[in-house]
Structures are given as structure tokens and as C-alpha cells.
């Protein structure tokens, strides 16, 4: 694993500033999200991604127009990185009518097909075969598009991982599988569940290209996924990318993350992807004031979006019958309150 403190030269500085902006937005978004939940303004659960922004932004920004992405319940960052609007993303988490999914999906199922964020999936592993299917369609339609599929380290132990990677490889599908290895699956450290050192080596079981990167170095993530996407487009098949990163918060709303060894979080905070990228940009000549402006703009955008989201309406009661089927008739038939009598 190489570490590049210097930003890769190939990417324009303006673009790299935009990465920073995106990472900041996600970070602020997650902080506000956390507040919404701890204040009890939103029910259910949420899985925050502070600390993993480098992977999500670095990977998604390696995509071209029309490319797509699927991710997990810990998907706020990935969906925002694809360009989902902040206000409607907040609104979905708050269960509003103007939420990305009309309030039907919630925090774990953020989806904005219009920006290529095809879905967030909450059953571990389930979207890995779906991503293969997306890639199959691109191949079938000869669209030249690729799709990214994000998932966690813990997900590499579930059956669907195996089936999906095998299928993607044998059919040489244009998909980039990105493991966000944040060292834990819920409360279990990787070593307790997974008998190998490097998850990326599982690619060998499928004859698949592989690359392991420092996930907190956005430049390296971007470079790795750019290469993987190019290979996929060229018909060379899928790549398994393992991005080493860390989640700053607990697994979910209710988790204080007491299982972490002392000092671990602090060490990773030193390697915060935002911090690292800011340093890289400074080395590239961007001054502190400009960096602060990016941060402040992001913060303002997030807070404004949150205000707008709060003002949005709750979904209309009857809307709960919509979208079961493409043709509405069938669902409507059952709209009479579920009484058989």
C-alpha cells in the first residue's frame, strides 16, 4: 500500500477542490444527521460514515457521466458524492414527501437514480449481485458505462459476495467492487470473523483484478478506481478495490463503540481524509484561506439544506399505497384499510 501525500498531478486542482467540498458536505451532513437522531427528531437507526469520505468521494468522482453506483445502509456519503441534493437527502431521512424516495426508504435506502445513485441496500451482500446485473445491462446495451458497488469488510463473508464476484468475473462485467474496510463489522473486529490478512486477496478466488489502497488518501482512491473503471470499460472485467479506512462514529445510532482499543480512534483522526486532502492541496499551493472558504461554503450549504428539509411536508397518508407496482391499480385495490370482512 502506497501513501501519496501529494495530490496526483493528473487531476486538475479545481476538481480536487471540489472533492474537498464534497467531503466537507458529507461530514457536515453526517454531523447534522447524528444530531437529528440523538435529538429524537428522527426514529429508526442510522449508520454514519464520518471518516470514510475519502473512499466515497474519491471513487464516485472517478466515474463518468451516466455511470452508476450502489451502496449500503451506510450510504449517505456515497449517495451525496454522486450528487444527490442535500435537502432532499435530509428530507428522506426525515421521512418527508420531498425526500429522495418520498419518505418510503429512509436512511438505509437513499436512492437518487437521476444522479446514478441506484440504491442503498440494507441486507448485507444483497446489492453485490444487483451491481453485477447493472454491469451486465451496460454490457448488453454496449453503453460503455461502468458501475461502482460499495460494501463493507464484514460483507466479504456473506454468500452473495462470493456469487456476485464469481459471476462478474466469468462474464467480465464492467463493475468496480469497492470494499470500504473500516476494520469492523458492527462491533466485531475483522480478525474475529475473517481468517485472512488482506481482504483484497479474495479477488484471486475469482481470477479478478485487485487493488488495495489507503482509503483516507482520496487521490489514491481516485487513481485506483479510475484505473479499474478504465479496465472495465475496456472489457477487462471487474476489479476488487480494498480501501482501508475508519469510521469515526459507532456502527449505528445506539453504538458508543466501546469495543475499540484505546487510542485507535485518535490515531485515525490524525489520518482524517479531509485533513490529508487539505494538506495535499496546500502542498499544491492552495492557501489556508481558500481551504477555509470551501469548508465554510459546505457547512452553509448543509445547514441551509437542512432548514429547507425541515420545512418540507410529511407524505400524504394515501401515498403509502403508491409505487408497489408500476401500474398503480393493483395496490389501490387494497387501499381500503386491509380489512377482510
Amino acid at each position: 500500500m502506497r501513501s501519496s501525500q501529494a495530490a496526483p498531478a493528473a487531476v486538475a486542482i479545481e476538481e480536487q477542490l471540489d472533492w474537498l467540498r464534497s467531503m466537507h458536505e458529507i461530514r457536515f451532513f453526517e454531523e447534522e444527521c447524528q444530531r437529528l437522531f440523538t435529538d429524537g427528531l428522527v426514529r429508526g437507526s442510522t449508520h454514519l460514515c464520518q471518516g470514510q469520505e475519502g473512499v466515497e468521494v474519491g471513487a464516485c468522482r472517478a466515474l463518468a457521466d451516466g455511470d452508476t453506483m450502489t451502496c449500503t445502509y451506510r450510504g449517505h456519503g456515497a449517495v451525496l458524492a454522486m450528487g444527490a441534493p442535500l435537502d432532499r437527502t435530509f428530507a428522506e431521512i426525515m421521512g418527508k414527501a420531498e425526500g429522495l424516495c418520498g419518505g418510503k426508504g429512509g436512511s438505509m435506502h437513499l436512492t437518487d437514480v437521476s444522479v446514478g445513485a441506484l440504491g442503498s441496500f440494507a441486507i448485507i451482500g444483497a446489492h453485490l449481485p444487483i451491481a453485477a446485473g447493472v454491469a451486465l445491462a451496460e454490457r448488453y446495451l454496449d453503453s460503455g458505462r461502468v458501475t461502482i458497488c460499495f460494501f463493507g469488510d464484514g460483507a466479504t463473508n456473506i454468500g452473495a459476495f462470493h456469487e456476485a464476484l464469481n459471476l462478474a468475473s466469468i462474464w467480465k462485467l464492467p463493475v468496480v467492487y469497492v470494499i470500504e474496510n473500516n476494520l469492523y463489522g458492527e462491533y466485531s473486529p475483522l480478525a474475529a470473523t475473517t481468517p485472512i490478512e488482506q481482504l483484497v486477496d479474495r479477488a484471486d478466488a475469482y481470477g479478478m483484478r485487485k487493488e488495495r489502497v489507503d482509503g483516507n488518501d482520496i487521490g489514491l482512491v481516485h487513481r485506483a478506481v479510475t484505473a479499474a473503471a478504465a479496465a472495465a470499460r475496456a472489457g477487462e472485467g471487474p476489479t476488487l478495490v480494498e480501501a482501508l479506512t475508519y469510521r469515526h462514529k459507532g456502527h449505528s445510532r445506539t453504538d458508543p463503540a466501546k469495543y475499540r482499543p484505546a487510542g485507535e480512534l485518535e490515531e485515525w483522526l490524525q489520518r482524517d481524509p479531509i485533513l490529508l486532502h487539505e494538506r495535499a492541496l496546500q502542498s499544491a499551493g492552495i492557501d489556508a484561506e481558500r481551504l477555509a472558504r470551501v469548508r465554510d461554503d459546505a457547512e452553509r450549504a448543509v445547514l441551509d439544506a437542512l432548514e429547507r428539509a425541515k420545512a418540507f411536508q410529511a407524505p400524504a397518508p394515501e401515498s403509502r399505497f403508491d409505487h408497489v407496482f408500476a401500474e398503480q391499480a393493483l395496490a389501490q385495490a387494497s387501499a381500503d384499510a386491509g380489512v377482510l370482512a
Binding site: 436512492t111 449481485p129 444487483i130 456476485a164 393493483l330 395496490a331
Partner: protein
């Protein structure tokens, strides 16, 4: 009009669907050159090539997932799950992803996926290859489930399933593959959600699907000789059930027998009985009778398997009891 087998009707249904729309393709284990474990896709590989008739590894989760992913990008996959019982290994893909994906995203994705599954008992395949697995999915809103019994229905429902913008589980009864029936030269789709009155009658309504429908027709014939006029209805779709057609019949006959090739609890038959009672309790002159298979796994031995499920004779007896109630 020609005589074809149930198997041939499905094959033709798939072929016509593929001919009509380039986005339609088939994937599954050995569906290609081998023509499928039940030879239902025989000839499709030769005709449509490896891009559109795709052999997969033994990976049902991947098959269903790939179908979902391809569908949301505009294709119209037909996925084969060989024995319906194998739906157990991809149940999550069907029940938690395919059925809910559109709803969870507020209608952002459309899922024109057809999943074909070889259903049912009667061939000595034992407990893990003989179930009526449509019953596993009844409590999962978001799916449509069809269960054709004849070549014409199989063809028509296949065309309807592939043309449908929503997920359809298409259950093919293994024991019917060689059954023959008429098929129009230019056959039409059969609307999903529409029951068929197979045989009109006045005294009692018998509802049955797939292999049991043929038994029910036989039973009606026998009953007719005794002067009992049984109306036979094949729902053809079990999710959603066409309760209206059944109620129209029961409103006249005031007696109903539902015969099915599965245990009673959690079955489409029990669901139908509950709906009949809800909508037409006052019309009924006898308790609705649900004739089911034993509440055991499907036994292997010939004799045991035959006894395990209802047949024409038992339908006759049950119907008599209902008529004489």
C-alpha cells in the same frame, strides 16, 4: 390451432417474447446449449445466441440479483430457478430486494423481471424438489405470482409476465411439462390477475391450480355423472387473487371447495377461503372446504407421495360432503 405440450408452450412464449423485444433475455443454470434441466429453453440458444441465452454458475443469488440489476437498467430478464425449491437460496433477492426495491425508492426503479420456477410434486423427486413454493411468497407485497396449468395459459401468462413492468414469479408445474393442450396459431397474452372459469356449473364451485386443476376437472366429470354440477375455476394467478371471479361463482353455487397441492397453513387456498368468507359469508350454504396436502414434507416413495396430496377421487369425496352439507 395446434396441440402442443405445456413445455413447448412455455418455450414458444419465451421465444416470441425475445423475438418481439430485444431487451428480453434468459439466464439460468444450463439454460443455454443444454436447453435447461427440463428442456424448456430447448433451441433458444441456437436461435438467439449466447448474449441472450446465458448459462450461469450455480449461484441463484447471483441469478436473481443479476436479473434485478439488469432490469433497472432497462432490460427485461427472464431468470430460471430450475426447481422452485431452490428459491430458498435466493429468497432474500426475491422477497427483500425484487419485491421492495421499487417501493423503497418511491418508484424510481422499474423491475420487469420474470422468474421461472419448476414447481410441484408428483414425480418422485423427494422433499427438497417437490414443493409448491408459490406459498412462500404470498405474504410479500410487490410480487405477482402466476401458476399456469395448461399450454394456452402457460404461453399467455409467459407473454404477460415478460410484458409486465413488475416482477412476476412464473411457476411451471413440473408434472405438467408433457401435458398437451390447444394453442392458437397467434396466441394472445393472458392477463395476470384473472381467474378462468374452466367448466361452468351450478351446484358447487371447485377452485384449483396447476396439477390440481386437472384433477378438479376430472372430479367435476365424475360428479356430473352423479348429477352434481360443479363449476371449476382456475385462479391462474395467486397473487393477487382474482376474488371477484370466484365470488361471482360462489354467489351462484353457494358452496366452494378449494383443492391444493400443499399443506393448508400459509397457503393461497387458506388466503382465498379467508377472502371468500370476508366477502360472501352470508351467501354460503356450507363451510368453505379447503382440501390440502398432508402437513408433512413431501415423502419420496411412490405410494406415499401419491397419498400425500389430493387427487380427483378425494376432490369428488370432499365436494360431495360440501354439496350434501
Amino acid at each position: 390451432m395446434s396441440q402442443v405440450t405445456y413445455r413447448q408452450a412455455i418455450t414458444r412464449g419465451m421465444a416470441d417474447a425475445m423475438e418481439a423485444d430485444e431487451r428480453v433475455f434468459l439466464l439460468g443454470e444450463d439454460v443455454g446449449a443444454a436447453g435447461g434441466a427440463f428442456k424448456v429453453s430447448d433451441g433458444l440458444f441456437e436461435r438467439f445466441g449466447p448474449q441472450r441465452v446465458r448459462d450461469t454458475p450455480i449461484s441463484e443469488q447471483a441469478i436473481v440479483g443479476a436479473a434485478i440489476g439488469a432490469a433497472i437498467r432497462g432490460l427485461r430478464p427472464m431468470a430460471e430457478i430450475m426447481f422452485a425449491d431452490f428459491a430458498g437460496v435466493c429468497f432474500d433477492g426475491i422477497a427483500n430486494e425484487l419485491a421492495k426495491y421499487r417501493y423503497m425508492t418511491g418508484g424510481q426503479v422499474t423491475l420487469p423481471v420474470t422468474i421461472r420456477l419448476g414447481n410441484g410434486a408428483g414425480a418422485g423427486f423427494g422433499a427438497q424438489h417437490s414443493q409448491s413454493c408459490e406459498n412462500w411468497f404470498l405474504n410479500v407485497p410487490g410480487l405477482k405470482i402466476v401458476v399456469p396449468a395448461t399450454p394456452a395459459d402457460a404461453y399467455g401468462l409467459m407473454r404477460a409476465a415478460v410484458a409486465d413492468d413488475d416482477p412476476v414469479l412464473f411457476f411451471e408445474h413440473k408434472h405438467l411439462y408433457n401435458a398437451r393442450g390447444e394453442l392458437d396459431d397467434a396466441p394472445e397474452p393472458v392477463a395476470i390477475g384473472q381467474a378462468l372459469v374452466v367448466r361452468p356449473g351450478d351446484d358447487v364451485t371447485i377452485v384449483a391450480t396447476q396439477a390440481m386443476r386437472l384433477q378438479a376437472e376430472q372430479a367435476a366429470e365424475t360428479l356430473a355423472q352423479d348429477g352434481i354440477s360443479a363449476e371449476v375455476i382456475d385462479p391462474r394467478t395467486v397473487l393477487p387473487l382474482d376474488v371477484a371471479t370466484v365470488m361471482e361463482s360462489v354467489g351462484r353455487t353457494r358452496r366452494v371447495v378449494v383443492a391444493q397441492e400443499s399443506p393448508p397453513d400459509g397457503s393461497w387456498g387458506a388466503s382465498l377461503v379467508a377472502r371468500i368468507c370476508a366477502e360472501g359469508f352470508e351467501w354460503l350454504d356450507a363451510p368453505p372446504l379447503l382440501l390440502s396436502a398432508d402437513e408433512t414434507p413431501v415423502p419420496y416413495a411412490d405410494d406415499l407421495e401419491r397419498l400425500w396430496m389430493p387427487d380427483a377421487e378425494r376432490i369428488v369425496a370432499a365436494t360431495r360432503r360440501t354439496v350434501e352439507f
